[in-house]
């Protein structure tokens, strides 16, 4: 096992999703996005029609991710920021 963390910087991507019919639809989109190895975390909020995710920029980019959301769903207005993976791991551990 790698003793160092497997990632350096990740990208936090947020975009709106329209066309979700219900919570199951939102969860299904979340699952499909998580199947992408480059996407480490993801949550699709049905009520807010919003998707938040973290991805490894060495393996994909925001444009490709947005394009992977297929019709009848429509993803747009992406907003992205860089985050250190170490911070994500640190926030995950209970203190």
């Amino acid at each position: 096992m790698k003793n160092a963390l497997p990632f350096g910087k990740l990208v936090r991507l947020e975009f709106s999703v329209s066309g979700l019919k219900n919570k199951e639809d939102a969860a299904a989109l979340q699952y499909r996005l998580l199947l992408n190895d480059a996407i480490l975390r993801c949550h699709v909020d049905f009520g807010k029609e919003k998707c938040e995710l973290l991805y490894n920029p060495l393996n994909t980019n925001s444009r490709k991710i947005i394009a992977s959301v297929k019709r009848p769903l429509v993803a747009k207005a992406p907003d992205e920021a860089e985050i250190k993976y170490a911070e994500i791991v640190k926030s995950g551990f209970h203190n």
């Binding site: 096992m1 003793n3 990632f7 969860a27 199947l35 640190k90 551990f93």
Partner: protein, 549 residues
Amino acid sequence: MGLAEKISRVSGDYASPLPVQTRSLCPECKAPLLAEIYEKSGKVRIRKTCGTHGKFDEIYWESAKFYDFARKFSSKSRGIENPNVGTFINNDGSNCPFDCGICSNHHTHTGLSNIVVTNRCDMSCWYCFFYAKEGSPIYEPSLGQIRMMLRNLKNEKPVSTNAVQITGGEPCVRDDIVDIVKIAKEEGYAHVQFNTTGIAFANNAELVKKVKVAGATTVYMSFDGTSKKTNPKNHWEAPFAIENCRKAKLGIVLVPTLIQNVNEHDAGNIINFALNNLDVIRAVNFQPVSFVGRMPKALREKQRITIPGAIKKIEEQTNGMIAESDWYPVPCVAPFSQFVEALTGRRQYELSIHFACGAATYLFMDGNRPVPITRFIDVEGFTEFLSEKAQELEKGKSRIATGAEMLLKLGKFIDRKKQPRNINIGKLLFNALVKHDYKALGEIHHRTLFLGMMHFMDPYNYDQARVERCDVHYAMPDGRIIPFCAFNVLPEIYRDKVQRQYSVPWKEWQNLHPEKNINYKYRRDVKALEASPIYKSAYFSQQNFFEGD
């Protein structure tokens, strides 16, 4: 009922009379689906429809009667105070089971934690889904990472787990396994168990002594039957592992995976085998099969067995000496912790898992006769009594008065004529519950056999209400804590995905460990093993405790 109304009923009413709405998964595409658990011809089934892959209708439990009995023991759970809801991603649990971490929607704290210490294994069983095939990346966390994962679990609030299972792959292929046990002890774990084939312990008595000295408490050993046919994995080695554990005074739990038409006919023999080794075997924990991956319906129907089905088989195979009425769902013991909590004012570990996840009973030995605990203790009456007392304490009743009442009324729930000779159950229970003297209870545990059932799910019978209440959790090196039936049913987004991230390629691992033969697979000398007196004594000199009159 509209869809929104149906969704709002999900989870909250999980213990209602059938039919019950829940959420499940499409076994083909894993799409989340609304599902219904319902009764048909005395059995409990789960049905769901995927828009793409059609209808699925699967057995959930073989007995609607036992389901109706079990659901009444459902216990309220209080979850954890410091969930990992994500500072960067708002994974609030609304898309369960894709939001794990552990989320704010999870109802139970960790009971048994699991740390995967390797994905290597020295066996290659065809049915196993959990080891690195040749050429696959090797996942083997460092000791530092293992300590971090253990600490993460320990920091769950308000109740932290006291039990950890070291698992794999085969954990004993690691050279530093003794150090891992030491770290678990340093991090405050009272109960440290190995999930293993036991083959390393069969072949290395010194290793058994070392892990025992380091603080290991239990060997959770796969044991699928008492014959070569039903237990091809470790039939030959199990007697030697048992013998080495006996010498080292290291307790064993036998873990049979039960499959209909494969080994379910051997369940009674397995219990009998355990009773013949009661000085070292503490428990048998049956695991009715869960189907990983796609499987044709006909084969599922042929091989599926669930908790009531396994209990029925045991009743038949033990001549009614362990009957269906002797089994209780796991959450039936929740009133014990509620009572102790009310008495001491300290939060206690609560076994508030879903009633369909597990069942258990205790066998006491009365001379040469195994007697289930239910034959001399009114379990239902006693747990109801404890619940009442807990409520009274919470309302301010004096602890001294409650203790005195307990002393007076405890005997009412015990049939002294039927209780095993030389054991004063009433005194033991009083000491444990009121005086918190668990030593005597621990000693009695050495003269009893715990029988458990733990039924893990698969995509066909997936019930979200169950996974939300799971208390068998895996810690991951990225800081997340994942319930068993999310970790193993959705490996593509949890287990395998994260292990890939933290692995090294096969060749690189071999270069890093030139002294190791990464391709090593265990080969047994059947003739030599079968010729040993230890083997012969284990299988051919057994007493039959369930012989009919």
